[in-house]
């Protein structure tokens, strides 16, 4: 699709943790916003655009105004992006488009959430999922991803052992990331297969660990980006596709809406899979990485199982995947979890990935996935401007 000349110039993160006692979501947003703007070498006065996410529980409505007031911002463009795990990626190309359209010049994109394991925020739904899925015991996300995995296994012969390579190899990557919740906790294929069967064929270690935390990045025009602190990371292409909410209404199971979104992002950037130096792939479940590898053309449709068994996805391999360990090793700080895939790509492409730098990384694919392979965003980022 379109390719506005924008770049990510600053990033900030509060590392995911199992619980976040004593802090509010707004406090986390303030913290992480200040670090992202400081990282860019900018100040509060430079920010005239703001993008936030939904906050179930704390601020159900008027989120952009609530956050703007809390941060002391008076943006000329304020918006909310509600694409689940794709919200961060959705923010980046919306920010670029808003800058391109003259709505603002520099956008702060921020997501965060607290977590108390004793409190499960449940939205009072009155929608088709509540009416036609919940009465059968189909609540939450696990069941839908399990059914995608089951379909992939039935159609292509993919095995649980093959899917287990995703958490196993990402945990190994996280040995270089002290901020990961599971830093230093390597696991084996057997550990995954012997962890409780949450919903067949997915085991507990195939599933992301819910956490609290926050993430933010700053986007500005390519022209302004030259005056910032770090090497700017340019948005070279983006694509988005939203097809369903309930899995029963998905057009298909083993190819996700990421396929057209990634194709659009490649086309805009003028790249193909073989041009990529790094994959920063959304990974709430092992099966999501498997399907994404196929939808990105890294391997053929149906062949992600054998591919995952063979692949070296470390920073020393030919095509590193999630050097930070991904959300499966880092923990998922609610919607901020998806944003960490942008942050990791930015660090790698500008050369600030301390202790886990992919040598010479220039071009990365970042994916975001929301609901149940429902709302998908793909980004091609590059250290070089278009």
């Amino acid at each position: 699709m379109t390719r506005p000349g924008a770049a990510v110039v600053g990033v900030g993160e509060i590392a995911p943790r199992r619980t976040t006692p004593g802090v509010t979501t707004l406090e986390m947003i303030a913290d992480v916003s200040r670090s992202a703007v400081a990282d860019a070498g900018l100040s509060r006065a430079d920010i005239d655009g703001l993008m936030v996410g939904p906050q179930v529980g704390e601020t159900p409505q008027h989120v952009p105004a609530t956050v703007a007031e809390y941060l002391g911002l008076e943006p000329t463009f304020a918006d909310i992006v509600d694409l689940g795990g794709a919200s961060g990626a959705g923010m980046l190309w919306r920010a670029a488009a808003a800058i391109d359209a003259g709505m603002c010049s520099t956008v702060l994109c921020v997501l965060g959430n607290t977590r108390d394991p004793q409190v499960v925020p449940r939205s009072p739904n009155r929608n088709p999922i509540r009416e036609f899925d919940v009465p059968y015991g189909a609540s939450g996300a696990n069941q839908a991803y399990a059914m995608v995995a089951q379909a992939h296994m039935a159609q292509f012969g993919t095995t649980e052992q093959q899917l287990a390579q995703v958490p196993v190899k990402q945990r190994a990557n996280a040995m270089l990331n002290p901020d990961a919740v599971f830093h230093g906790k390597q696991i084996t294929t057997n550990d995954v297969l012997q962890s409780p069967l949450v919903m067949s064929p997915l085991h507990l270690l195939d599933v992301v660990m819910p956490c609290g935390g926050g993430a933010a990045f700053v986007v500005t025009s390519a022209a302004r980006a030259v005056d910032t602190r770090h090497r700017p990371v340019h948005l070279r292409g983006a694509g988005e596709k939203v097809t369903h909410r309930a899995l029963s209404q998905a057009p298909q199971l083993t190819t996700s809406p990421l396929a057209p979104a990634i194709a659009d992002a490649y086309r805009a950037a003028g790249v193909r899979a073989s041009d990529l130096d790094l994959l920063s792939l959304y990974d709430c479940y092992s099966i999501v990485v498997a399907v994404t590898l196929e939808d990105a053309g890294v391997c053929a449709k149906g062949e992600s199982g054998p591919w995952l068994e063979e692949a070296d996805i470390s920073i020393d391999g030919p095509l590193p995947i999630n050097p930070h360990g991904g959300q499966l090793a880092c923990g998922q700080a609610d919607l901020a979890g998806g944003m960490t895939h942008i942050l990791e790509a930015v660090h790698q492409l500008r050369g600030t990935a301390d202790g886990r730098q992919v040598p010479g990384a220039e071009t990365a694919l970042v994916t975001g996935n929301g609901a149940t392979l429902s709302e998908e965003v793909a980004l091609v980022l590059s250290g070089a401007a278009a």
Binding site: R126, E131, V198, S248, L253
Partner: protein, 144 residues
């Protein structure tokens, strides 16, 4: 995985709307209703004020045959809602009806190990004791 109370929590009641109440009334009589478009013949589940294929408002109820295949499934070990904990392991499936539409359901009266993608199934509604409401569950055709 959350630390919720393990007390026996009742299953939530079905939340029908004015438009969908006919669907659940038919369900209580053991019938699965779909919508057929009078303009383009498209069949859909669930009920909406228009056809999702051509946006014609000319949609009407039509009883499904109650037969189809398992599009995909999972055997639930750790349910997302605590009210289903006593039911584990149970089979959650998406059935593709012979008319085309798909729906979330349970495969009942089966051994979970016997379930596979592509198996033929037939409608076998279940009266839920918790809610005294009928849900549209299926059984393996081979068990009929």
């Amino acid at each position: 995985m959350t630390a919720e109370t393990t007390a026996t929590m009742p299953k939530p009641r079905i939340t029908s709307t004015e438009r969908t109440s006919a669907f659940w009334e038919a369900a209580s009589q053991g019938t699965l209703l779909l919508q057929r478009c009078g303009q383009c013949n498209h069949m859909q589940h669930y009920a909406r004020p228009m056809c999702v294929a051509c946006w014609s408002p000319n949609v009407s109820w039509e009883a499904a045959a109650g037969t189809g295949v398992i599009w995909t499934f999972t055997v639930v070990g750790m349910p997302g809602h605590p009210a289903w904990r006593p039911d584990t392991p149970y089979v959650l499936a998406i059935v593709e009806l012979d008319e085309g539409p798909r729906l979330m359901t349970n495969i009942v009266d089966c051994r979970p190990d016997d379930i596979a993608v592509g198996q033929r199934v037939v409608l076998r509604p279940t009266l839920q004791p918790d809610t005294n409401q009928t849900i549209l569950t299926f059984a393996l055709a081979s068990n009929e």
